[in-house]
Amino acid sequence: MTEDEQRPEGRVLPRGWTRHPPERMLITPLVAGLGGLIAFFVVVFIVVWLPIHTFDPPASADWTPLSNDAVKGRNLFASNGCYVCHSGYSRPQDVRYALYFLYPKVSAPGDFYGSDQTPNLLGTERTGPDLSQESGWHPEDWQRAHFYDPRYMDPLSLMPEMKSLFSDKQVEQLITYVETRSGKSGLLRYAGQIYSKHIVTANQGFAPAPVGFQGAHGQILEGNDKILNPPKGQLEEAPNLAQIDRGYWLSGDPLPVTEGNLLRGKEVFQERCVGCHGLKGNGKGPGAKFLSPAPADFTSADDACCGGDTGPGDFYYRILRGWPGTAMENFGDRLSVNDIWRVVLFIKTIPNHTLRKNYVPQPSDYITWQPSKELLAWVKSSQKLENNVGFNKAPVTDPYMQEAMRVMPGLSTGDSFLINDGKTRLSLQDAAAGIKAIYDDLLNRAWDEARARGSKLPSETQKAIPPTVPGQQ
């Protein structure tokens, strides 16, 4: 018995047609379809239309346009799904967590200004690190080797190999994007990296690194001593020392040489360093073929005992902060201070074949470093700091000088000498001027190409705002 049949009026309805209980809200197809759509559009108006039409922050002071190659690289980045593991913005807490090398600053709305950064690449996952501030931390040859096979540069990496995904040209575009995507602060770092690369390769007589994935098919580069003309009476390692804070030049290892420390050092070395420096520590790792200058060889006992820039402090500083201009990265936020010192202890045992399998390095393998007479003479004669300038706390405000001091931390304001090619002069002023020239060139090229493309640009005054060096540099 249906309800209708019970009704006194006895209205007749076709079989199967049941009148809806009248006391309840009735949903008809029109109410479900159109009503649902109205509800939908009300919310869409609030959460889509409104923000899109009211939220258009002006370009931040740090913002830069992208060059043509960088835009192409960005499109490759998007089309190949790189954003599924790499986010594209630094959150406030990332900076608060003090990961200064990865996240020197919080992304601001104005960093995403303009029409170059489409589609958005904010991402939702970080299997790899955020890349919004990646520019300039690594030189191009590191990037090439890393794209070819990420394990070459970081044995712990989970990143897929890109060797079959991109042509030589495409990988260069991708690198251009990565190296210029981080605004002015990133561009400044990149300029510092390019400048240092010039100094380092000229100083050691290295040819430029092979482009694209060509490195995979070549040989490990060697420095050509014949084109070098080291200035007489100058310490050979002086240009190298210019990239190490002078407080570390004569420093010893604070940790005792124990089996435990050496073993931990070996473990870390095998976990992180073998991609470039090789399983034997001879600088012939699989990634070495891409790099110019080639990675350091630790197997020479002479270097270990008395090389002018191979003291424990020198090694420590290079691991901690990296060596701008070479593929040596900063491991400062990846390794603890103690672990870095342990790696330094272990490196000093490599000439005694401590990297062989199943061998526990012994304290007797350790080669104690003594500063050479030349180094001590150099420190005494040419490196006197006028008026205690090394302790001068007056802050430097010129960003190019700040960057020069970052990549050449061993130079003091009075230092000025020729590097080993016998013609390039090295001083903080020269470095700052060189970095500024490279920076201006990069920025102008990006602006010109963006203008030619018809991209949306802020006024020229934005371009004139000098870059900043964010974070704890």
Binding site: M25, L26, I27, P29, A32, V47, V84, R91, G123, L165
Partner: protein, 490 residues
């Protein structure tokens, strides 16, 4: 007489004309195939997490290309095809027609949809992508998808128009509204009026990056909010009362769940980018909406639990119902979890970690996929009018996916906390990777169980199609009957 072959089954003369179900059959058979394909994509990804160089330099198996293929495949190939199959099966039964307005149109759309996804996935695997998460398919594929989608909407509305039962049941509200919502959502979210470079990025995106991000995540979340979830509700509203032979507990609660979903789900998208430099008021709306969402969720939960009251014995005996109620449980869990995840303090910890991956799988695998498996098992039995080939295989399917998923989810949740806490201590991503290795291995093993479950189901359904299980079941029953109660000889 004993020993004599029993007479074959004959149809009753007055039996109603059977439902056509041609469209439903095509859609669910396709979806079963895609389920295994997209599961295997997932297994490729899980393998690459353990050994990143597993597939050497095969460019189309690169993680970054397979992941969009996996995500889009799960949503658009497996789940969407399964949902349309269920819709084409249930709608005629709910509105009193013998089939869809045009079953033939539904079949054609099925083939077109298969072509669409194949093209899309070939594009993704060869580096032709729009590069917007969840909206990766290139512009021509987007257009093809929308055309098929609109034809399906037309078919649905035409079927509703020729209905013979005037009041429309709760499921039908969703069958009408949800495809329309998604069509609009997909068109707006993929910015289809801006084809751009067409074959690769940038294409189908707003030029302003942050606006594009807001639109992107609004769209991505509404794939779940306005299509996958409402359809889960619709299917559950159908299966539970139908299998238990119990009327729905409350009409009013179903109203709350329908309108609550329409209002609160649409605005939560920005909770995917809570720490991004987007407007704070939008984040607040997203957070509040994410909590208000619990209103329709609880309405639905109470409604289904009310309907299940007194029927829990069938949870153990009826496998489609067991799948449905398991999915229902995971659905409830994903909403509670999601509400917390959308809060700033919790989000700061879990964002960017595997916790989010676990959450996404809780919805797409735990809720939608397990429901879909049960509904397909139910439909196969009904459409072919015979029991499934093997109950044991179905049990295996259930336990493989349930145990596999539960393990998968737990492992990724733990890995997410590991990542979140490590990052909060200032440990960079790369240093956490070695700690995750064990989790990733476990994830791969549990993932393999899930793949196996889909294959077991495909085998079971294939055997059901090609064996006359009805006749087999009848003979078995008779054989048992002869043993238990031998016929009395005259």
């Amino acid at each position: 007489m004993p020993g004599e072959a029993p007479a074959p089954l004959t149809k009753r003369a007055d039996a109603p004309a059977p439902f056509s179900d041609q469209a439903a059959k095509h859609w669910f058979l396709s979806s079963i195939v895609w389920l295994t394909v997209v599961d295997l994509f997932g297994l490729v990804l899980a393998t690459e997490f353990v050994t990143p160089a597993a597939f050497g330099d095969i460019s189309w198996l690169s993680f970054s290309r397979v992941r969009p293929a996996h995500v889009n495949g799960v949503i658009l190939a497996w789940l969407t095809m399964m949902y349309f199959a269920a819709l084409f099966y249930m709608l005629p039964r709910l509105v009193g027609t013998r089939g869809m307005w045009s079953e033939r149109l539904g079949v054609w759309c099925c083939w077109a949809w298969n072509v669409m996804y194949t093209l899309g996935v070939i594009g993704l695997l060869t580096g032709h992508s729009q590069g917007r998460e969840y909206g990766e398919f290139i512009w021509p594929v987007d257009i093809l998808l929308l055309v098929i989608w609109c034809v399906n909407i037309f078919n649905i509305l035409a079927t509703v128009q020729i209905r013979t039962i005037r009041p429309i049941y709760v499921s039908v509200w969703f069958f009408i509204a949800s495809p329309i919502w998604l069509a609009v959502d997909y068109a707006i979210g993929n910015v289809i009026w801006s084809p751009g470079k067409i074959w690769s990025a940038p294409s189908g995106a707003l030029t302003n990056s942050l606006s594009d991000a807001i639109l992107n995540w609004w769209y991505a979340h509404n794939l779940f909010g306005l299509w996958l979830t409402p359809m889960l509700l619709a299917l559950t509203y159908y299966i539970v009362p139908r299998v238990t032979n119990t009327p729905l507990y409350s009409y009013t609660l179903s109203l709350v769940s329908f309108w609550g979903m329409a209002f609160f789900y649409t605005g939560v998208g920005d909770h995917h980018i809570l720490q991004s430099p987007t407007p704070a008021w939008l984040k607040t709306i997203a957070e509040v909406s994410s909590w208000m969402l619990l209103v329709p969720v609880f309405a639905f939960t109470i409604n289904i639990l009310g309907t299940m009251k007194g029927n829990w014995d069938k949870f153990f005996t009826n496998l489609p119902l067991r799948f449905t109620m398991t999915a229902f449980f995971f659905y409830f869990l994903v909403n509670i979890q999601g509400a917390f995840e959308a809060l700033q303090p919790f989000n700061r910890l879990t964002h960017f970690t595997n916790f989010v991956v676990a959450h996404a799988h809780l919805a797409l695998l735990g809720a939608f996929t397990i429901l879909g498996m049960g509904v397909i098992d139910y439909m196969v039995a009904q459409v072919y009018q015979r029991p499934l080939f093997s109950r044991n295989l179905t049990e295996w399917q259930y336990w493989l996916v349930t145990v596999g998923f539960t393990g998968f989810f737990s492992v990724l949740t733990l890995a997410g906390f590991q990542q979140g806490f490590s990052w909060a201590q200032g440990i960079p991503e790369v240093n956490v990777l070695p700690q995750l290795h064990a989790y990733y291995i476990a994830r791969g093993i549990f993932g393999a169980m899930i793949v196996l479950s889909g294959i077991v189901q495909a085998v079971n359904i294939g055997l059901t199609m090609f064996t006359n299980t009805a006749e087999r079941r009848r003979r078995e029953t008779l054989r048992v009957a002869e043993i238990v109660a031998p016929p009395v000889s005259g």
